[in-house]
């Protein structure tokens, strides 16, 4: 009802976030994001804080998916850098990983201290088995869209054999197969 709500909503807030705000926002994100931070990140960055528009966010995410590293890690760096330069990038990244780092180390201490207790062993064994199941599910989900692309299936299978069966190093495998795959995509698909 006031003047502010009458302003157009498709513009980002003109005032860029401070370094402190970047740090605390990503710190919060690191604490709440279980099993994938991305949906939470979109809500915080686009809807809650309005640092970026939907289109800007999607564009930046495209960059982060293109580059190596976790999407959300790259996104925190890109946003920090965009608003506050290198200091902003460092504040965002450190904010994002600070709390999860502390928590995994605490879990690691628990694991180390109690790993001789059979009940704790069983608990962690069950946890690891469940985590393996989630990885299998993820592999199935991302493999399904390839079913209409025979060349892609062959390359994915070669990659699997090279890494999981032959245990070849990642760097040479990646250089050979990624070049082949990119060439095949260029030759037959675009």
């Amino acid at each position: 009802m006031d003047a502010a709500s009458a302003a157009p909503t498709d513009v980002t807030i003109p005032e860029p976030p401070t370094i402190g705000a970047l740090f605390t926002s990503f710190l919060g994100l690191g604490l709440i994001g279980f099993g994938g931070v991305l949906p939470m990140a979109r809500r915080m960055i686009v809807e809650k804080r309005r640092w970026l528009t939907e289109a800007e966010f999607t564009d930046l995410l495209g960059l982060c998916q293109f580059l190596p590293g976790g999407n959300i890690i790259n996104l925190s760096v890109a946003i920090g850098l965009h608003f506050r330069g290198v200091a902003g990038a460092v504040a965002s990244l450190v904010g994002l990983i600070a709390a999860p780092s502390a928590i995994v180390i605490m879990l690691g201490v628990v694991y180390d201290r109690f790993q001789d207790d059979p009940r704790v062993q069983h608990l962690f064994a069950g946890l690891a088995a469940a985590a393996a199941g989630l990885l299998i599910a993820m592999a199935i989900k991302i493999a399904l869209p390839l079913r209409t692309r025979p060349v892609a299936i062959v390359i994915a299978a070669l990659c699997f054999v090279a890494i999981a069966v032959l245990r070849l190093p990642l760097l040479p495998t990646m250089i050979v197969l990624a070049s082949l795959s990119i060439f095949a995509t260029w030759r037959w698909q675009s």
């Binding site: 099993g35 890109a78 009940r119 946890l127 699997f160 990624a178 795959s181 260029w186």
Partner: protein, 176 residues
């Protein structure tokens, strides 16, 4: 100790720049380096570290921090974190400036599409290796299969499945 830290830095800096498609693609290479080459821990311990990291909040690369801590304590945490998150972040910063210029070029889509089969192959390899190291009893294989099935067929939050797996393990059924 310094030699270990240098090895950690070299391994994770390389992984940082090879992690196309996210953290799960580099698990096999991380396991190969940490378990097979440097013998810093057993394959079973490695998959336990991975599971712990999955049960924690935050980005899904936190297994890196845990490996660093396990191998070399606090200095290990600092070195692996810097090595894992530094190079890819610097690359992001550099490319951010060029992004506007090439994001609409056709080759950008071709490269990105071409990397997808690699991601699929690598995540499948991660799944195979972590499963192999985790399921040393038949009952654990049942937990893995059940979690995979439920995760593929429903939209249930992964944290519930991890909790259910941990509880099933705690029950001790089929475990020695």
């Amino acid at each position: 100790m310094t030699a270990v830290l240098i090895s950690l830095a070299a391994i994770f800096a390389e992984l940082s720049l090879l992690a196309f498609g996210g953290g799960n693609t580099i698990l096999p290479e991380m396991q190969r380096q940490v378990v097979d080459i440097h013998h810093w821990m057993s394959a079973r311990d490695f998959s336990a570290m991975y599971a712990l990291a999955q049960a924690a909040p935050g980005p899904n690369m936190m297994v890196v921090t845990l490996v660093g801590w396990r191998v070399a304590g606090w200095p290990g945490v600092i070195v692996t974190s810097l090595a894992k998150f530094g190079p890819s972040s610097i690359l992001t910063g550099i490319v951010l400036k060029l992004w506007q210029r090439f994001k609409d070029r056709p080759w950008r889509r071709i490269v990105q599409q071409g990397l997808v089969p690699m991601t699929v192959g690598l995540v499948a390899a991660s799944a195979a290796l972590i499963t192999q190291a985790s399921d040393h009893e038949w009952s654990l294989a049942v937990i893995t299969a059940a979690c995979a099935l439920v995760a593929v067929t429903t939209k249930i939050h992964p944290l519930w499945l991890l909790a259910a797996g941990a509880l099933a393990g705690l029950s001790g059924i089929g475990l020695s």
